[in-house]
Subunit: 604 residues, 2 copies
Amino acid sequence: MENELNDVARRYGIRFVGPNCLGIINTEISLNTTVMTIERQPGMLGFASQSGTYVTQSLPALRKRGVRFSKAISLGNEANINMVDAMEYLGEDEQTKAIILYIEGIRDGKRFVEVARKITPRKPIVAQYVGGSVSGARAGLSHTGAMAGPDFLYDGIFKQAGIIRVHSVEDLYMNGWALATQPPLKGNRVGIMTNSGGPSTTISYVCDSVGLHVPRFSDNLQKDIRKHIEPHASAANPVDLTFDVGIEKLAVTLPEIMMKSGEIDAMVLHGAMMTGYMREIYPHLKEMAGNISLEEFLKFSLPIVQEAFEMPRKYNMPYLISSLFDEEDCYTQGYMDHNFPVFRFPEKAALALGCLYRYKQIKERAPRKDALVPKINKAAEEIIRQALENKQAALDEYDAKQLLACYGVPVTKEALAANVQEALKAVRKIGYPVALKACSWKIMHKSGKGLIALNVENEIQLKKEFKNIQKNAGGKIPVLVQEMLKGSREFLAGMTRFAGFGPGVVFGLGGVFTEVFKDTTLRLAPVTDADTKEMFAEIRAAKLLDKYRGMPKVKLNRLSQIIQVLGNIALLHPEIAEIDLNPIIINGAEPVVADALIVLESKP
Amino acid sequence: MENELNDVARRYGIRFVGPNCLGIINTEISLNTTVMTIERQPGMLGFASQSGTYVTQSLPALRKRGVRFSKAISLGNEANINMVDAMEYLGEDEQTKAIILYIEGIRDGKRFVEVARKITPRKPIVAQYVGGSVSGARAGLSHTGAMAGPDFLYDGIFKQAGIIRVHSVEDLYMNGWALATQPPLKGNRVGIMTNSGGPSTTISYVCDSVGLHVPRFSDNLQKDIRKHIEPHASAANPVDLTFDVGIEKLAVTLPEIMMKSGEIDAMVLHGAMMTGYMREIYPHLKEMAGNISLEEFLKFSLPIVQEAFEMPRKYNMPYLISSLFDEEDCYTQGYMDHNFPVFRFPEKAALALGCLYRYKQIKERAPRKDALVPKINKAAEEIIRQALENKQAALDEYDAKQLLACYGVPVTKEALAANVQEALKAVRKIGYPVALKACSWKIMHKSGKGLIALNVENEIQLKKEFKNIQKNAGGKIPVLVQEMLKGSREFLAGMTRFAGFGPGVVFGLGGVFTEVFKDTTLRLAPVTDADTKEMFAEIRAAKLLDKYRGMPKVKLNRLSQIIQVLGNIALLHPEIAEIDLNPIIINGAEPVVADALIVLESKP
């Protein structure tokens, strides 16, 4: 029935959302096809969701948090309009200032990255992905029928596209809302203003943990601040009024002094409250006040300081509010009405600021250059053709490296030897010490089977090991004679194809630590210089690429080239299913591929 | 003034909280000295807080989330009653079923661990620590005057004491509330019941990520479930009713079938709602219903299914609620009234269940045995005495290893040589290859200065390198002749003293990766077998301790011994300030200390 529906739609040029969705919200034209109500005031947050719940059941919660959509789209089964279409639309929509995506699985991963990459330099995208675990994938499949992919694939494409990943729908809404409403962050210096020690300590701690800086204020600035606070209160930043209900000072005078100073790039304010607090003390004071009603009692509230909501916009920097009081408090409501995000716990405000900081870095990325995919190499083509003719499932190590070398990848000096004489001849060119390895496409994993001898240092050893290897391999198999590289830093690079996404290229820590740390990162092919630069910074072992413990800085342009070539080979040679280079040994400063596996497509 | 206050208190046997605090709450006797109101119904969550805000400003938010304290204590400056006293009291308090701690800095770390360790096998403790960053520490100091310590110190003592660490005050309250109200988790199998695909996929994903298991239900169980759901709905787990407002099925029938089955150990339910939903559709239906008021309209709500709140207790397993509707919905309120934690976003429910799972592991820890600290070793004492007499700031490597060997630590075979002849004599015992190292307490860091020669393989090399080292050292300095160990796995162990905590012992990945991964974990001395067992499991490189890539499993009892000895040495020899063993090379399966630094106290 879905196919039939699509046929009709195509015939008449109709685009549609769903089926199995809860409709759309478009506040620009007051359209809301969901079963719940929305605010009349239009918002600026665009949402594409693979869960209908998150554009319906969540509406009351969002209203109470001041979050308002520009457009929200429940995608359902994506028979016609899919996640990428929706994202593209939101990217072009002027009302939408930031985009959030709830994702259980993307069908067209390649286009997703292309489209997102065009949007993120000018409009932030935040995404949550929940398909990348066993039961998450099962639940998603039964829900929207979307095939999920591994978590590291989505992590990689989000980074490549400049999408900020979050891990809860609350963070999706709230961080999206902060990005949609606040001016861009221009630096990492945060001013914290509070009347309360706990939240200010916590906000400081979280700011530090996301790369933000809570600077100790200059003596001059502290002097200015001290004029307005009690002697025991702190002026250093965080500025803590301590127990003081002077809203004017807390929310206008002091924040303004801090923002004017030039010493901060963003503000977090905790503690602005009035009616929420009055409600709390009412039971205590009810009798004293002559048993008046709560409504009467609330009339004793001080007038709302409107300047609290108007002053911050003057300074054109992010201004985030933390409050333990919800929409029942007039300040929480006032800030929400004026499009300042109000976070219900202090940590969330600091984390959202971290998100704005991440977007600053994304905006500052160099403009994307198209990758230059070289022409196909005839010799490489021939290696693959012969292997397929032989009905090989993979190339042997020697051929794999020959193929890599065709595209300029530096590999170990090596030669194939059918017998000891040939091996000795090879050593004369390579020089001791050498490694000996049984070489056949049938032996994809050589270790632990007596098929490798390392650090062979002389003729006697060579003869012995050569025979051993052939004996263990059970026949007159060719033996690869290979230079032994020196270098204690080992990395890996690889290529795998993902349905709907095309070839993915990974880079990370290799050698003995590969499975211990699983420290890798991914990009879709083609991979650019800018991509590898970010990959180098992303791995946890990034320090190893730099000057480290007497070792020189790795030649990163050479390493970048290896990674980019893997993507290019994948694009040029569809017959190749998988590539695994591990280890890539850093020999001095120079990366050299010491082992390589190239697996061919079972049905070329 | 504080001292004076304390003197008076001591004289008359008075204990007091504060000063600079917001008082206490004791719901057992309806006592509340804070400025805000609390619920009449007593709770079961005990709280000790170094922020007054978190026992006052947060009270309305907690009430709306159904969280109720047994006792809550704002500690202020801790002039008399401190964090440890409060925790001990809550540990003994029968009304308190779980304890939460908000910490900016602990003064008596040693007692903190001792007391907490006695509590956690029978009562869970959850803690947030925010002092461990530059500006977090500064903010905390100005707030309560408490000295903070590094984050890894607190991380270590929390683990040692069986305290669950969280990173937001919301998680502190809500996970504490889940632990206080729910029966213990007996396994890791989670059943998920919902009417909504997004939340069920998300809950599944988060459960997977915290070590819980969302099993696919058996065919028999699925058959039972299918009798109650639409054909297109999923019975596999998560069980997803899809768009269906039948509360009876969602919140009674199906959860009961799942809990009865024996196939799960805990339930998460999302989607129970009624009046919250009615409020939302009221604007749509108002006219149709003859413009009745919201109050009139709400009367059309179906009667609340009381069984939803009563059934779950029968099955004695954790039952957590996720709802996008807050206390305005009758089901959210009903669950809260019946002491079921209601989480406002789905991820939070799954994360809280992860917390219950963590507590299961803590409860299952072997009962703590007291560590056996050996008697002081006379030879070790003599080494230190001589070094102090020489006014040394540290032991040289040879002496350091001699001292370690006195307590049974396996060290490299080595000898001190004043000249080449003595070196050659040493090699006759040790055997080539050897390492040569300049040996003086004045040279604490030898690398990069030409003071080390590795892999010295013969007499010619030895003579050359020996002279080089003495030349580079600028004098006739003794040279350490040391066996070269084979082994590609390198760890580290160390000891540092922390004010208020005593000696802390760290263990982790060593050698070249030390600064790259900073993969270490800490315990306070004395360290037990049980401690090291957990330390081995905690480091990210844990796999390296096991059989790995053809290498045998490390002899963990020997490694454990080394770590324990460091703690013992620290306790026996207060003259030692710091110990650093790096690398500890795994030679075959055997850990051997290849380099050691022992720093002495500047004022012994």
